[in-house]
Structures are given as C-alpha cells and as structure tokens.
Symmetry: C2
Subunit: 224 residues, 2 copies
Amino acid sequence: MDGAVKQVSNTQRAVDELRRLIFSGELGAGSDHLESELAERLGMSRTPIREAALILEAQGLVEMRPRKGLRVLALSPSDMRDIYDVLTELESLSAENAARLGYSDEELRHLATAISDMEEALERKDLEAWAKADDAFHAELVRLGRNSRVQAIAGMMVDQVRRAKAMTLQIRPLPVKSNEDHRGVFEAIRSGNAAEARRIHYAHRTHAKTMLLELLEKYRFLHL
Amino acid sequence: MDGAVKQVSNTQRAVDELRRLIFSGELGAGSDHLESELAERLGMSRTPIREAALILEAQGLVEMRPRKGLRVLALSPSDMRDIYDVLTELESLSAENAARLGYSDEELRHLATAISDMEEALERKDLEAWAKADDAFHAELVRLGRNSRVQAIAGMMVDQVRRAKAMTLQIRPLPVKSNEDHRGVFEAIRSGNAAEARRIHYAHRTHAKTMLLELLEKYRFLHL
DNA sequence: GCATTGATTAACGCATACGCAAATAAATGC
DNA sequence: GCATTTATTTGCGTATGCGTTAATCAATGC
C-alpha cells in the first residue's frame, strides 16, 4: 500500500540533492558547475537541474551565469551581517508574537526540549549536537510566531549561513551565554511577556552577530 | 548599432509579462492558467513559461499545481497581516540603519522628493500619484538601509500586496497622517537619530496595517 | 611584437516530442 | 438507478535536439 512510491519529481530531488551538496561543502563556495555536469552527477537530464537551479537562485544559494554554469554563492562578512540582521528582526518579532499568542506548556514542549538538549550538549562539549539543538530552537521559535512569510524567509536565511555556522563552530567561544538567553526568551514567552521576549531575543541575536563578525574579522582567511 | 537588440531572454520577458498581468488583474487572484495557454498568450513555448513560473512561485506570487496549471495566489487577511508584519520589521530596521549611516542632504534627495510628491498628490486628491510616491518612499527607505537581503525581501512582500493596495486605495481614508509620519522619519534620518527613525516608522507601519486590516474586515467581499 | 579579427568549440536558451499520471466520461454490473 | 470500473483525454514531467551566443585560440596584419 505505502510501497514508498517515489512521489517526488526529479526537480525536487535535484533541489534536495544540490542543497545537500552545497551544505556539505562538496560544492564549495564560489565554485562553478556546468548544468550538464551536475545532470550527469545526479543521474538526470538538464531540465530538472535547470528548474532546481532557478529555485535555488531565488533562495539566494546559487547564481546562474550563461556559459559559466551554476556558481555557488560565497558569503562576504557584509552578507553575513545583512543576513543576521534580517534574522534578528524576524525572530524577535516571532518571539513577541509567540508570547502574545499564549501557548500552553504542552505546546511549548518542543522549545523546552531544544533548550535542555542544548544545555546537555554543552556539558558534554558536543558542539555538533549543540548546533543542531540551537537550530531546532530557532526554527521552533519562528514556528510559534505563526507567520508563514517569516517562517519561509527565516528558513532561507538560515540556509544561506549554514556553511558559515558549521565552519565557525569549532573556533567560536563556548556558547554559555546563549543558553541563558534561550531560557530567558522561553520564560518570557511562557509568561506572556511579549515585550520582554522580543527584547531578550533581540539582544541575544545581536550579541551572536557581533561575536560572529569579530570571528570573521579575525579569521579572514576563512572562505565561506 | 543600438538597434534595440533584444538582449533579454524569453524567460525574463515571461517573468515581466506575467507579473504585469497579475498586478493589472488580468490574471485574477485564485485563477488557474494552463502553461500551454500562457505560452500561446505570450507567444513563446512552454519552457520559458515554466521557468518564469518557478521564479514567481519562489517569490510567492503563484503556485504550480500538477494538472491544474498556474494558480495566482489569493491573499487572505491573515496573509496581509503576515506580510505587513514583515515589512514593518524590515523597514524599521532600514530606517534605523539609514539614520545611523548618516546621509547627506543630497543623498536623501530622492526620499525628500518622494515625500513632497506625496504631499502634492494629496492636495490634488490624486490617489494614484500618491500611491506611486508612497511606493517610491518605502523603496528608497529600504535602499538607504543598505541591506541587500532586506531589499530583496521587501520587494517581494510589496509585490505580494500590490493588488490589495490598489484595490483598497479607493476606499481607504485619506492618508493625511501618513505624510506626517514620513516627514518624521525623514527628519530622524537626517539628524542621525536612529532609535527615533525606527520608532516612528514602526508606528507608521503598524498604524497602516491596522487600518488596512479593519478595511478588509469591513469589505469582506473584496477578493484579493 | 602586439593587437585585432576570424574560426572553432563549448554551453546554454528554447522548442519540440514522448510517456505517464490524473481527471473525467462512459459503460457495465449489481 | 447507483456505484464501480474502465477507457479516453488532457496536461504535465522529462528528455533531447537544434540554433545561437560567447569564449578561447590562432593567424594575420600593422
């Protein structure tokens, strides 16, 4: 019955696969790739590759240049600042709205779980696990904000900085302060304090942005 | 030499033309259109139409549904709220950054022009001209904020509400208060008062959102 | 010796064609 | 007469092919 019928189009597969290749770094930042080459690599024809490329271009991950192929976009520190500024605004709005909407403890369970996962990962000094839980926290926060556009945009922005986050993970200071902030945002949401939720989260993101930009300044050689 | 060589791809022409058809209402909200039908209408084959459709879908203007064709997305009041919330946040950020960046009077000329255009249009009760100048003001504000992502996102959001704005233009109260707000934002930017620029613009957008949502509540029949 | 122009080739834009999936209409069985 | 199944049609997903454009390299002229 569920025989796992492959209900997904080749275009969708191409999008997923290309995203994976980009995030894993197999397609490095700034690198060019011909459509035909990618088509062969993914075992499909040029058309679904082109359609996937148009989608990824709209999401800001690649650039299509005639006769040059797909270019995986590199991120300058200025790009990072731009992206983090957007995330700061939209997530802060989400925190405010989440607090205003007044969720039950049950509905906030995912958020709580993400926080304790982070704390636990931090004790174990498991940075990978921490980053994953951190992603989960931010995604869940945005979800609770109940704004479909914010969710879509935040998702795109997170995608764009994914590589950079992974690369700086090893050289950044231990995110101890982050966890305090998360708890603060959580408590503000739980108690319905919208202004406070926004304020704390805004400060949290701003702090993270500053830290990251200083890091990029220091390790200028890092190519994102 | 310049013989007006058509240097633009058919895909780009299709994007432009479809956008125009959507904004003009020739392709009404919620309506379905077959790719082949649109191809014939625009005098090209299905391929550039498909590519254009993928781009427009990524920008949230249409939806591609297998065997149903392209659907022009309709906007619910909830969508409008979501979109205006995003615009509120990102434009407020832009206002703050513009003030912080410290522009000269010369660099602020476009902004000033947009404001006086609005005031003039308002005296003539020329709502069309007012709306156009209002668009110009917001676009210029975002441009001055100097954040490429914000510019791209704000552009998409403005596109999505373009039809709704046009339809409500005739039934909304005269935008007298708007013009005061714009002057306030302008002065704050000119004097480098970042917090004030953000605050005024935030209030301005919030007010406009409330007004629009009440209007939609009242004229429920308006299909956007 | 350098520059400019022409040829060759690589890559893409667009069109067309084919096969499959889904929706609708028709027909048969209950 | 209604429901279920089958056939037909419609429309899209994907592939392929061709014409066009641009980039590279070589050759010739200055």
